[in-house]
């Protein structure tokens, strides 16, 4: 064969690589005739939905929404305000370690926190299915109230709607939150530079695994609890320790840590290499993921952030994070590199390297 790996790249191969790279760099078009579950899974299909359908309609100049941060920023009389919104449709609504109500508060305050904004207030919209037992509703309302107290936010407005039986699954919640942008924060998904260190705030994959097991579709038992928790304290500690050296922070929800790394590698035009052996994963989560054929790096978290810090401040950032209750297990898991641009690589614990791409759709289990 003409192309052993030390041979020069032939003209034809070079041309084909260029075509592919150009195609991949283009904004995706949304061509699907229907919305499928894959569009909600956080991987490539979700990206196509957002970048191919929503951004062109809402942000044709690509100045705001197109940055694809967790929160948007607005200024009111020179005060920086961060604003975000999120819907919660988790099933089952109660699961080990939390419930939909607690999740709805934490999810939104965390999107503010990782944008460098101290959460101030949220609104709650409830969509309830006809026939929902009052005790279930009351339990979730209590969960919302105590989560708001724990996160230090006021609930300032709300809405309720009831739909016919079968038109919703028990209850859905939408929360919208605003926060005050911290003067120490200068965060952007486009700010990553080669040499920056990648830090996660604790062991990963617990929320998604807890949900999968709580659905009881698999005959698997394990005491895995959701990691849902508010993250402002962790973000505050990072800002204090690293200040302007803190480039970007993300909460690793849908699509997991792998998706965060991919989105930022693309947004900043850098490569990221993760060291699999350094990623904290609890043994029972690893075991469940192994059996289900799923990689914990793609599993959702609800109380974990990923921080990108300039190398000079990485040690201080890690130490500060570890002093925050709930983030004691923080670890440095990787580094930002120059090339290949837009890609995430993993150094496997076994000693090889592989590409860790966005998922094409739902993380479907393999048969072989």
């Amino acid at each position: 064969m003409s192309t052993s790996s030390d041979a020069p790249v032939s003209d034809r191969e070079q041309r084909i690589l260029d075509i592919i790279e150009k195609t991949r760099a283009r904004r995706p078009k949304f061509k699907s005739p229907n919305v499928t579950m894959a569009h909600g899974a956080g991987g490539k299909a979700t990206q196509t939905l957002i970048e191919g359908l929503l951004v062109p309609a809402f942000d044709p100049d690509e100045a705001g929404l197109a940055v694809l941060a967790d929160s948007g920023g607005v200024k009111i009389d020179e005060t920086g305000i961060a604003m975000t919104t999120d819907s919660f449709v988790v099933k089952p609504i109660r699961f080990p370690g939390g419930s939909i109500g607690e999740l709805a508060v934490n999810g939104t305050v965390n999107d503010l926190a990782v944008a460098g904004a101290k959460p101030v207030a949220i609104t709650i919209a409830l969509i309830l299915e006809e026939g929902l037992p009052t005790e279930v509703l009351r339990a979730e309302v209590d969960a919302i109230a105590s989560a708001a107290v724990a996160a230090g936010v006021e609930i300032v407005a709300g809405d309720t709607k009831v739909v016919e039986r079968g038109h919703a699954d028990q209850m859905y919640i939408t929360t919208t939150g605003i926060g005050a942008i911290d003067p120490r924060a200068s965060l952007s998904p486009r700010a990553l530079r080669p040499g920056d260190q990648v830090i996660v705030s604790g062991s990963i994959g617990e929320h998604g695994t807890a949900i999968m097991l709580a659905r009881e579709e698999f005959e698997l038992d394990a005491e895995i609890e959701s990691d849902t928790q508010p993250l402002w304290e962790a973000a505050d500690a990072l800002l204090g320790a690293a200040g302007p050296d803190l480039r970007c922070v993300r909460d690793a929800t849908r699509g997991g840590v792998a998706t965060v790394l991919n989105e930022l590698a693309r947004a900043s035009g850098v490569a990221i290499i993760a060291r699999e052996g350094d990623v904290p994963v609890r043994a029972d989560v690893r075991g469940a993921a192994e059996i289900l054929g799923i990689d914990p790096m793609y599993v959702a978290n609800e109380g974990r952030l990923v921080a990108f810090v300039a190398p000079e401040s990485a040690g201080a950032a890690l130490e500060a994070l570890r002093s925050v209750p709930g983030s004691e297990g923080a670890a440095a898991i990787g580094e930002v590199k120059t090339e290949p641009i837009g890609m995430v690589l993993v150094e496997t614990a076994f000693g090889g390297k592989r590409v860790m791409d966005l998922l094409a759709g739902d993380p479907l289990p393999r048969i072989c």
Partner: protein, 371 residues
């Protein structure tokens, strides 16, 4: 994890990589095919390619049961799935495989009742819970999964469950291997034999490969150390001028296979005269259908299906890629008509297929460098 981490020890991995390096002749190119999709997945997951000398190339074989299902069979399944009374069940990774117009995932979004199951027994359970519906299981896989389909059908019969049907797409491993080996331009030097297929069929069915075609085959397990040891054993055979079937996976694979599994398969299935493979075309006696004794569970007999062969575009050269004759980018449709979003051949369907990996990872797939 006990019994798992032992087979993923990086120190032992480096030691094996060193032994492999000492077995290869500089300047000689080695092309080894891992037959099984499970091996491809492990090689990719652990980055095993990285630990091999540059002149040892792994060629991903035809053993991904999902990727070899041709569009026409997906269309047949779709025609059945879209009947109102049907609950259609299949394994998760079948959901995304494209038919001529759509995948099962698309059909689900369009309103068909399509559910993912982990085992055919789950499908049978759904049938019992929904006596007023017809539950159809889209059975796929090599000899690895065929026994579980057979056992499920036996159980359905024993329990008198009449609303459970099966679309049988089970395939067998030996005919496609023979088809590859028969090709005059075949460039492979040896085979990593499938571990779990062999747990059922044993090592004996592979004896023809060294005997008739002069290529070594080593049946290997799926952990990274298993695969590296399997590669080391193949290279040792090549270095010593030996050529035989060896069994690295002896903790799971007996030479004669699993007689109970083989017995239940021969009761429930019989060979189809021929079956179409995506990218490889028709291969005779390469697949199973339900035997006459189980014909009343055969969804293809109960429902009308288009049964149309949807031709892979003529330019698709998966066969050549699989044989190691051409590189993915040398295929005429690569990157134009055939992309991961609209895959034509088996090598593009699976994210780990040679073409998909090359398409997605471009220069990195070639150079494997991070700076």
């Amino acid at each position: 994890m006990r019994f798992v981490d032992e087979f993923r020890d990086p120190g032992l991995g480096r030691a094996l990589a060193g032994e492999i390096l000492s077995l290869v002749e500089p300047g000689r190119e080695y092309k080894l095919m891992e037959v099984c999709g499970g091996h491809t997945h492990s090689i990719y997951k652990y980055g095993i390619d990285d630990l091999l000398p540059e002149n040892v190339e792994l060629v991903h074989g035809p053993g991904c049961p999902v990727c070899v299902i041709p569009m026409g069979r997906v269309d047949d399944g779709m025609a059945i799935a879209e009947n109102e009374e049907v609950i259609f069940t299949c394994f998760g990774d079948m959901m995304r495989v494209p038919g001529s117009e759509k995948s099962f995932q698309d059909a689900k979004a369009g309103g068909a009742d399509i559910r993912m199951v982990y085992s055919p027994l789950d499908a049978l359970r759904i049938a019992k819970a929904n006596p007023d519906r017809v539950v159809v299981f889209f059975a796929i896989g090599f000899e690895t999964t065929a026994p579980s389909t057979a056992l499920t059908l036996k159980r359905a019969r024993a329990e008198g469950i009449e609303n459970f049907l099966c679309i049988c797409n089970h395939v067998t491993i030996v005919p496609p291997l023979r088809a590859l080996l028969e090709s005059p331009d075949m460039r492979l030097d040896g085979f990593i034999g499938p571990g779990h297929v062999s747990a059922v069929v044993g090592a004996r069915p592979f004896e023809f490969i060294p005997a008739d075609y002069g290529r070594p085959l080593v049946i290997s397990g799926f952990e990274p150390l298993d695969i590296l040891q399997g590669i080391r054993m193949i290279l040792a055979q090549l270095a010593e001028g030996r050529c035989e079937v060896e069994n690295q996976y002896s903790r799971v694979v007996p030479y004669d296979g699993n007689p109970a599994a083989l017995a239940v398969m021969s009761e429930v299935f019989e060979l189809r005269p021929h079956f179409e493979w995506r990218g490889l075309g028709f291969i005779s006696q390469s697949a199973l259908r339900l035997s006459d004794a189980y014909a009343d569970f055969d969804a293809e007999l109960r429902y009308a299906t288009p049964g149309v062969r949807v031709a892979d575009p003529k330019a698709c050269q998966c066969g050549e890629v699989l044989k190691g004759v051409i590189k993915p980018w040398e295929c005429k449709v690569f990157g134009t008509a055939c992309t991961p979003e609209h895959a034509i051949g088996t090598c593009m369907v699976s994210p780990e297929g040679a073409c998909a990996a090359y398409y997605n990872y471009g220069r990195f797939a070639r150079e494997r460098e991070v700076v």
